[in-house]
Symmetry: C2
Subunit: 207 residues, 2 copies
């Protein structure tokens, strides 16, 4: 362990401010290692110790930057879901063809293997672990669903946003996890053609 | 291990025919134990040995009745998904309000904790293990999706059946796994009111 980076002598709560040069690089390194370990083993089987080992730092340094495993997972989600955070912007452009724009945007994020793999890893952890599900729920609510619902001037705004999300999540689950044909090999445009009216209705139709 | 039931002296391939009294009971006992172990540990971490131990039989007897782990999982799915096998019947009753009938039927199966728990367990295994996903894919295609598609006299029948399934699966994922409010606490009828037109359109609208 002697070659491992040691935690700062004076422990501070939360993220250090006025940090030494290299602090930000260390935090990023730990976060990158954490994402890899979470993706490989799932939330359940990931330990602070394993993350520290993968990042080649002392476990105390992991605690120093992030706190408990739950907080590290939250930070990892923040990175993995960065592309999903564009969803409210898609909506803010107005209700015209929002179903089509949103379906196309969502499918393109999942189509790209570089953005899909970390998303799938987070979904796998959330499906198998209650704590991970809770962290994901809080994140998706705060960062996506509430913002989408805020754009809707309709009754049941949150329920509508969630049903639209449910349709899109269901599609990627059948397409990329269960890999059922023909949905697994359909082009994005074939899927958009069918799914866009569904999303459009949930987000704009007063009924 | 001496108190464990021993495999028959003469090994036969497949399910024994003209079996001794009690064979069927033994098979059911192993299957029940397998479902419990799969549900608790997931597909990855389940071994034939663990199933045998839970059923209090010799591992060779598990092999004798079911073959490999994959086949035991398939048999377990068969039991867990029994309620889902009513879906084609719902469709066969005709296109009139099929979206509403199907959404209500699907949600009622998931609403009942006794039928929901084993379904969730299968989904968890499939989301985290490729082999389990393959078994579930084959089962759902053969026993549900192809039958539903067979009832549709429309282009893209299979894709339509899968998009309807994706909407319903997405709803139960957000409702029972992520537990996002208000979808988690909405009544079945509130959900049906929004989701039924989606299913109806996928399954009946020529566009």
């Amino acid at each position: 362990m002697t070659e491992h980076e040691q935690p700062p002598t004076r422990r501070r709560r939360g993220r250090p401010t006025g940090a030494r040069a290299g602090d930000s690089g260390t935090r990023e390194r730990i976060l990158g290692a954490a994402r890899g370990v979470f993706a490989e083993r799932g939330y359940d089987k990931t330990s602070i110790r394993a993350i520290a080992k993968a990042a080649e730092v002392d476990p105390a340094l992991v605690h120093h930057y992030f706190g408990a495993k739950e907080q590290i997972f939250e930070a990892a989600i923040e990175v993995s879901f960065a592309p999903a955070l564009g969803v409210p912007d898609v909506l803010a452009a107005g209700p015209d063809q929002v179903g089509e724009r949103l379906a196309r945007y969502f499918l393109s994020v999942w189509h790209n293997p570089a953005t899909r793999a970390p998303l799938l890893a987070v979904v796998r952890s959330a499906v198998t672990n209650e704590t991970a599900a809770g962290v994901l729920r809080g994140f998706v609510l705060r960062r996506v669903l509430l913002k989408v619902a805020g754009e809707l001037d309709l009754p049941d705004a949150r329920l509508r946003a969630e049903l639209a999300a449910a349709q899109l999540i269901g599609v990627v689950l059948v397409r990329y996890v269960l890999k059922v044909e023909p949905l697994a090999s359909a082009t994005e445009e074939e899927i958009v053609a069918y799914v866009a009216p569904t999303i459009q209705r949930y987000l704009t139709a007063a009924e």
